[in-house]
């Protein structure tokens, strides 16, 4: 059971982010929940590509005694996580800009009060 701790951490992050989106009414708290889910998914992508006792897949100044395909971690999940982090930054920037615009128009950040189209 102790070998599943990274996957339990991923489940914990996604559960806390989902709780923040469903049960909170402030808009900024919902944005924080979306960012938590994003962090959980990135952690899951990285933990899929780990071998026991391996080093980074870089050939500059390689220490001796490292078997070349079996002693290195997998490089493809790390590349996919890089793309996912940058997309998360772009989505966060757009969400915060829309929150500022909603506050300027309705003068409140409560999601129960921003319901009707105001003239």
């Amino acid at each position: 059971m102790i070998y599943q701790i990274p996957f339990l951490a991923v489940a914990g992050l996604v559960i806390i982010g989902l709780y923040a989106i469903i049960f909170k009414r402030n808009l900024i708290k919902m944005v924080i929940g979306v960012t938590l889910i994003e962090s959980g998914v990135n952690l899951f992508l990285i933990t899929l590509g780990y071998r026991e006792g391996s080093i980074a897949p870089i050939f500059t100044s390689l220490p001796e005694g490292v078997a070349v395909p079996e002693g290195m971690a997998l490089p493809v999940p790390q590349a996919l996580t890089l793309t996912s982090i940058v997309i998360g930054v772009a989505v966060l920037a757009l969400m915060l800009s829309l929150a500022i615009q909603i506050y300027r128009h309705y003068n409140s950040l409560d999601s129960d009060k921003v319901r009707r189209l105001k003239e």
């Binding site: 059971m1 070998y3 599943q4 701790i5 990274p6 996957f7 339990l8 991923v10 489940a11 996604v14 559960i15 989902l18 709780y19 469903i22 049960f23 933990t47 590509g49 780990y50 071998r51 026991e52 897949p57 870089i58 050939f59 500059t60 070349v68 395909p69 079996e70 290195m72 997998l74 490089p75 493809v76 790390q78 590349a79 996919l80 890089l82 793309t83 940058v86 997309i87 930054v89 772009a90 989505v91 920037a93 757009l94 800009s97 829309l98 615009q101």
Partner: protein, 97 residues
């Protein structure tokens, strides 16, 4: 406690149970059974032959991001460009506002 709160709590409980149950059914952390594609990439990163798909780089992760999977990097550059265009468009003021 209207019906919407009860439905939200029920949905949240189901998703939480599925996530924790799924975390215990994954493979043990650190033991990977099939990794043929990544072994091929690690073995052929340093070569410069054209018939073994060599990249000629010392860093396998940069070679995967820009050479073996360059199309994903093109899509990500488009997403970053779209986000910057959207942010500038939201905060633009007309001169007679």
């Amino acid at each position: 406690m209207n019906k919407r709160d009860v439905a939200a709590a029920f949905f949240f409980a189901i998703v939480a149970v599925f996530l924790i149950f799924g975390a215990f059914m994954m493979h043990p952390f650190g033991e990977i059974e099939e990794s043929d594609m990544d072994d091929y990439i690690i073995r052929n990163t340093q070569s410069i032959d054209a018939d073994t798909d060599g990249a000629g780089a010392d860093n396998a992760v940069t070679a995967v991001v820009f050479d073996y999977r360059g199309f994903d990097t093109l899509g990500e550059a488009t997403v970053l460009f779209t986000a910057v265009a959207g942010v500038i468009m939201i905060f633009r003021r007309l001169k007679d506002d």
